[in-house]
Every structure is written in structure tokens, then in C-alpha cells.
């Protein structure tokens, strides 16, 4: 049995199974009413950021606020508090961000990629994000230059994620999907990894980073004309 024959068999079974569907019904012909809300409630930008912070905190992410100028000091302080010595960053992370941090910085790129074992020996990872969703308390990474390969924000136990509140916060899931590019690998993160598998006790942190710190940075929006469907550089 080869899988091409199975393809025909399955598609044939599907077609026979659907004999009751009118011949001339187009796929889009079956109606889908999209009368659900595109956001839940009207928020000013400040309210959206507050909601994001509340929802992130609710799912046990640690939330900090800063402005652009204060970011290096804040990152340095957070890494020191954690006792981090080796920190991995993607190639597109602004150098300035970690200029104050007394840590060894390892830059990961597709051409100089750390192995999973090497990443396991790293204390912390610092990334940006593609966007954040206020209603759900989610940051979304799309492997852009300031976020890097998916594995660098997965294997280390401590993830510092920087969100630019001027242009990266959306209210809702529908708004997020509009801005995200499907052809990029996407990771939606809502709080640190968790399990409720043992007597439904929520335990933070099984395999992903057990500590997620999100830094909400105020400042001017960057030019976003090409965003999101071009690779930003």
C-alpha cells in the first residue's frame, strides 16, 4: 500500500461521505457568521497596557516597567538579582540593552547556532517580541531578529522579554492574528510554563523557562510601515 493510493482512497471516501452536500455548494457557501467581538471592551492605550500587565501577573509572569533610557539598568539589575552569568541573545537585540550588565553575552544566530546542550548551560535569555495581547496576557515571538531561533527562548530557565508598549500591544486575539505572519514560526507565551497534572495543583515551570519576566518599555514607536509581513532587520 502506498500513500498515494491511500490519498485517493481517503479523498474518495470523503466525497462519498458528503453525497448529501449540494453539488453546487462552494466551500465558502456554508455561512460563518463573524458577529463576535474584535475586542472585549474599549481601552485607551494606557488601559490596554495596564490590562496586559494585570493579565501577565495573573499568570505569574513578573512584570516591570521602564523607559528606553532606563532599560539597560533595569536589565542589568534583573540579571544580577537572578545571579545570571551567561546570557544568550539573538543577533538583532540592540547592543545597548545589555551594555550595563556584568554578564557573558553569547550571541546566537542561524550560522552560529548553539546546540541544545550549550543552551542548557546558559542562565538567561533576553529577547524582544513581535507583539503582546492585553486581553489574554500573552507575548508572541515570531523569530524576528530581536527574538532569534525558537530554542534560545525555550531551553534557558529564565526569559526576559521586552515589549515596546508604543507599537507592540494589541487588545485581542483577533487583532494579534491580523498582524502576525503565518509563515514565521510563532510562539505564544502566556506566563511561565506550568502544569496542573499533579492533583490539579498548579506548578510553575516544567520544561520551558520557569521564570518569565516581561519588561514594558515606554518610548516612541518605531517606524512600522513594513510591519508585519516583511522580515524586519
Amino acid at each position: 500500500m502506498n500513500t498515494a493510493a491511500s490519498r485517493e482512497r481517503i479523498l474518495g471516501r470523503v466525497r462519498r461521505a458528503l453525497a448529501d452536500v449540494p453539488h453546487d455548494e462552494l466551500p465558502e457557501g456554508h455561512p460563518v457568521a463573524r458577529d463576535y467581538l474584535s475586542t472585549h471592551g474599549q481601552h485607551t492605550p494606557i488601559e490596554s497596557v495596564d490590562l496586559l500587565a494585570r493579565n501577565l501577573t495573573d499568570y505569574r509572569a513578573l512584570v516591570h516597567r521602564s523607559d528606553e533610557a532606563g532599560l539597560p539598568v533595569l536589565l542589568s539589575r534583573l540579571l544580577a538579582a537572578r545571579g545570571a552569568r551567561r546570557v544568550v541573545v539573538p543577533t538583532g537585540l540592540p547592543d545597548r540593552w545589555l551594555a550595563e550588565a556584568p554578564v557573558d553575552i553569547v550571541t546566537d544566530s542561524a550560522s552560529a547556532a548553539l546546540s541544545p546542550g550549550e543552551l542548557d548551560a546558559i542562565d538567561s535569555v533576553v529577547t524582544g517580541c513581535a507583539l503582546a495581547i492585553a486581553e489574554t496576557g500573552t507575548v508572541v515571538l515570531d523569530a524576528g531578529p530581536d527574538q532569534g531561533r525558537r530554542s534560545i527562548s525555550l531551553v534557558p530557565d529564565h526569559h526576559l522579554c521586552v515589549v515596546r508598549i508604543a507599537d507592540q500591544v494589541v487588545d485581542s486575539v483577533p487583532q494579534a492574528l491580523l498582524r502576525l505572519a503565518p509563515d514565521r514560526p510563532l510562539t505564544w507565551i502566556s506566563g511561565p510554563s506550568a502544569t496542573s497534572d499533579i492533583e490539579l495543583d498548579r506548578v510553575e515551570g516544567v520544561h520551558g523557562p520557569r521564570t518569565l519576566e516581561v519588561i514594558l518599555v515606554a518610548g516612541d514607536p518605531r517606524p512600522t510601515s513594513a510591519y508585519p509581513f516583511d522580515v524586519r532587520s
Binding site: R13, S111, S151, T187, D197
Partner: protein, 517 residues
């Protein structure tokens, strides 16, 4: 407490050569659902097990209350639910179109698509793909589809070890046990048992449990983290299912909590995803509905901790090879049934389990498949056909109270399908089996009656299971006017029940049970 489960597992015939210390425990190995007793017998065992019952009650009631809260946060819940149902119906009504589109999209993005008509073919495809890599172990993300086809056992027979990496699946696998809940598969185990399983069994699989492991949840999670990490770091092949596949873009989506999914999807060189054909959705935009309804229905969260989306392969990031195995295995047979096909809308959130009074008392194992609870009661008999007393009895494992329908985020009318399947059991009729339209005879009357009476009696002997049962009447009356909402026409014929739909099920039962034996 495990006496009810022990006898059922099928041991692995060939032990791995690198495991000298398997000892009398043998290699931890997935048990199997084959040869499960019919629902009432299995339920009776679970019901006697008081720990299972109290774990289940605690779990289902906790999730239930939290879910209600998470759902209440969204003013447009009903509209999202209708849209979810409509999107799935659109997909199912044109499934051939969307599957072909999906195949094109995945292929364009660098993936390879394989088609598997049944479990054996899917297992063969996956086994060959793993063999081609030269690897002898794979890491797995929790996937009901691969449980359905018995993939771990098939790989084991080929000398390939499949490591489950979801914490609950790990507990189940190390305990040589069966999952009992879609979302919390080890819901039947308490902390002390889990500690013992880890302490006694982890060493057989790899890194042993830490010395002096306590039964604190955090310590147990840490033990799992350490045990599995070495497997993730060296894994070359990952095996997964998927929650959604987007036809338009070729994107696959996995929704999870622990991060083991991200590990399996990101670190290996080769990723093999085995996904039922009904998991396709037409467009990227359609995800906006399910990514709102699934987490809230399932873990009662605004959003689950991690959602991964990938489209084919990406240079320099994640697996270099991606294989998608599209699985039929009874789904097209289910699709052929115009009433029953709505079961294929299911997004496996498990909300229906958590509200089901029968599930709460019977436990997941009684349903004899990876799909427990109300969804299992309608899906298993359709995927497998009414093949044995187990499948024949499943449509009776319900008080038809309708709570499952109310919470279902894709509005599957489970009671309607249950009644429809009961009729099929009792009256026979046209069904599609492995793609061929077949007339099945009524189940031999005494056998059918026995199966249904046992299941029904089991339900009614547990009065809590009937608590919500009073809405049965109005529900089924609208669906099947003039028909008995219980065992069906054969029963009606022989017992000559007058004007049955006007009588409540409980009254009917009280009046007739004496005749049943």
C-alpha cells in the same frame, strides 16, 4: 487501587538491549485499550474505587467552576461558539477541498504530506520515517491520535522507543497505565502514587528520580524536568499531533502548558505530526475563534501558557524535516453519517467530561478508548463501528442530561448523537465501515438489551448521575418525536410502552426496570 487496570496491559515482547536493569518491573510501556470490557463492567470497577472517585470529583468540579468563570469573561461567548461550529461544519462539508489545499500549502512550505487510511498504515509510515533517520528513539508530545492508533506499541515492536514528555503522560507511561482524562490523563493518580512511580521507575527509562524525592507537586515536577531534559537535548526525532491545521497557509498549531511541546517541536531535526483529517480549518483567521474558545473551555485559562505555530520548515530554526501524516481511521465513516458527523467538530477541550455526571462516577478508563466521557461515547462507536459490546454499550453511558452540549465550544449536540447511535445499535441500519456502505443488523436482541440495560442501570443506580436528567424529555422529544429516548425501538416494540415521549426517563425507568431482567 490499580487492580481494575492491572490485568489489561499487554507487555512488550522485546525489551531494549540497552536496558539491562529492567528487573521485574519490565520496561515501562504503554498499556492498551484492546479487549477492554464493556462500559458497565469497567465503570463498576472504577466506581468501587473511592480514591479515583474523589480525585475525579475534585478535579472535575474544580475545572468546571473555573471554566464557567473564564467563559463568563467573554460577552460574545455564544457567538464565538456558533462561529466555531460553523467553521467546523464548513470544513467538514468540503473536507476534500480543504485537505487538498492543506497538502499544497504544507508542501509549498517545505513539509511532506503522507496519507494513512487506517491505524496500521499510519504506524507503518511513522515507523519507516523514523527508521530512515537511523534513530531508535523519539520524543513525543501528548497526542490522542497517536494513542488511538497505538503508535508507541508499533514503534516498540520495531525497536524504536517512544518517550512521552507530557508530565501526565509520563506518569501514565512510567506507571504502565492508561490515560483517564483528555486534559489531565493522570487524574486518577495522587501525589503519593506519583512519587512512588517516579522513584521506582524513572531509572528504567533514563535519569533516576532524585534521592529522597518528596511528594510535593513542585518536587515531582522538578524530577520530571530533570528526567526528560536529557531526552529533549539529545532527541533527533519528535512526534506530535496537532490541535489545528490551517488549509490556507499550511500552519499547524499546538496548544500546551508545560513546554514539552515546544521542546519536541523545536529541538529535533525531524518532526513527524500525525493528525486526524478533521483537524483542518480553512483560514488563518479562523484561529481567532478557536484560540479564544479552546483555552477557556479546556484549562479555564484566558490563554494557555504556550501555543506553537509552524508552517513547514524554517531555515536555521527548528526541525529541518517535517512530515505530516493525515489520518482517516474511521473519520470518513463518521463523516458519512449526517447526524453523527458533528462529532468531528470536536476540538478536544474536555469540557464535556468535566460536567458529565456519568464520567465523574465512572472514570475515564471505563470508556475503553483514548476518548473518554461524552465525546468518547459518541466518537468511539463511530470511529470503530459498532464492533463489540463495548462500542454498543457506549451510547448508553449517559443520562442524556445535555450538560455536555451546553458547555461544548463547538456546539456538538452529544445527546442527539447518542440517541441516534442507540437507535443504530438496536435497529441496525446503514452505516459506512472502512469506506463501504454496509447494512448492519440490529444487535442480537438479547445482547443489545443486556448491554444497554447494564449501562442504563449503572447510570440509574448512581442517582447523582441522573441529577440533571430531567431535561432529557424536552430535548429528545424535539429530536425524535414519538420515539423512546432510551433503548430504542426494539425495546419499545417488545415492551409496548404507551406514549413514551411524554414520560420522563426516570419515571419510565422506575416503571420498567422490573421487566428488564
Amino acid at each position: 487501587m490499580s487492580s481494575g487496570r492491572k490485568g489489561r496491559h499487554v507487555g512488550s515482547a522485546t525489551g531494549p538491549s540497552d536496558q539491562a536493569d529492567g528487573g521485574s518491573l519490565g520496561r515501562p510501556h504503554s498499556a492498551t485499550y484492546l479487549g477492554m470490557p464493556a462500559f458497565p463492567q469497567a465503570a463498576a470497577v472504577s466506581t468501587r474505587d473511592s480514591r479515583l472517585r474523589s480525585n475525579l470529583r475534585h478535579a472535575t468540579h474544580t475545572i468546571r467552576a473555573k471554566r464557567a468563570q473564564a467563559v463568563a469573561e467573554l460577552a460574545d461567548w455564544d457567538r464565538l461558539r456558533s462561529a466555531g461550529a460553523a467553521i467546523k461544519d464548513r470544513t467538514l462539508r468540503h473536507l476534500d477541498h480543504y485537505l487538498v489545499q492543506l497538502e499544497e500549502s504544507v508542501t509549498r512550505a517545505g513539509g511532506r504530506v503522507h496519507w494513512a487510511a487506517d491505524a496500521a498504515e499510519a504506524n507503518r509510515i511513522v515507523t519507516e520515517l523514523v527508521r530512515a533517520t537511523g534513530e531508535t528513539e523519539v520524543v513525543k508530545v501528548k497526542s490522542m491520535t497517536t494513542q488511538e492508533i497505538g503508535l508507541n506499541e508499533a514503534l516498540e515492536r520495531a525497536g524504536i522507543h517512544a518517550y512521552e514528555t507530557d508530565l501526565a503522560e509520563l506518569i501514565v507511561q512510567l506507571g504502565d497505565d492508561l490515560p483517564s482524562h483528555i486534559l489531565v490523563p493522570a487524574i486518577h493518580r495522587n501525589r503519593g502514587e506519583i512519587r512512588d512511580i517516579f522513584r521506582d521507575r524513572m531509572a528504567n527509562w533514563g535519569r533516576p528520580a532524585p534521592e529522597g524525592l518528596s511528594d510535593r507537586s513542585a518536587d515531582l515536577a522538578e524530577a520530571a524536568r530533570l528526567h526528560l531534559r536529557e531526552k529533549f537535548l539529545r532527541a533527533k526525532v519528535g512526534v506530535s499531533g496537532a490541535n489545528f491545521m490551517v488549509a490556507e497557509t499550511g500552519t499547524l498549531v499546538i496548544v500546551e502548558s508545560e513546554g514539552n511541546g515546544r521542546m519536541c517541536l523545536t529541538l529535533p531535526e525531524t518532526l513527524i505530526s500525525v493528525v486526524g483529517i478533521e483537524k483542518v480549518v480553512p483560514t488563518w483567521r479562523d484561529l481567532e475563534v478557536f484560540l479564544q474558545t479552546l483555552p477557556r473551555s479546556s484549562t479555564a485559562e484566558r490563554m494557555n501558557p504556550y501555543t506553537s505555530m509552524w508552517t513547514g520548515t524554517t531555515d536555521g530554526d527548528g526541525p529541518r524535516f517535517f512530515h505530516l501524516v493525515l489520518l482517516d481511521n474511521g473519520r470518513t465513516d463518521t463523516l458519512a453519517d449526517q447526524v453523527g458527523r458533528q462529532a468531528l467538530r470536536c476540538i478536544r477541550c474536555s469540557a464535556c467530561l468535566n460536567v458529565c455526571p456519568v464520567y465523574e462516577r465512572a472514570g475515564g478508563h471505563a470508556y475503553g478508548s483514548p476518548y473518554p466521557g461524552p465525546i468518547g461515547a459518541i466518537l468511539t462507536p463511530q470511529l470503530r463501528g459498532l464492533a463489540s459490546p463495548l462500542e454498543e454499550s457506549l451510547p448508553y453511558a449517559s443520562s442524556l442530561c445535555g450538560a455536555c452540549f451546553e458547555v461544548c465550544p463547538v456546539a456538538i449536540d452529544i445527546p442527539e448523537v447518542l440517541v441516534h447511535l442507540r437507535e443504530r445499535v438496536v435497529e441496525g441500519g446503514v452505516v459506512t465501515l472502512r469506506g463501504t456502505r454496509t447494512v448492519i443488523k440490529p444487535a442480537r436482541r438479547h445482547r443489545a438489551e443486556r448491554a444497554m440495560m447494564r449501562a442504563a442501570r449503572w447510570t440509574f443506580d448512581h442517582p447523582g448521575a441522573l441529577r440533571h436528567g430531567q431535561r432529557l424529555l424536552s430535548r429528545t422529544r424535539g429530536l425524535l418525536p414519538g420515539r423512546l429516548p432510551g433503548p430504542g425501538r426494539a425495546w419499545t416494540d417488545t415492551r409496548e410502552l404507551p406514549d413514551v415521549p411524554a414520560e420522563s426517563f426516570r419515571d419510565w425507568w422506575a416503571r420498567t426496570r422490573g421487566d428488564a431482567t
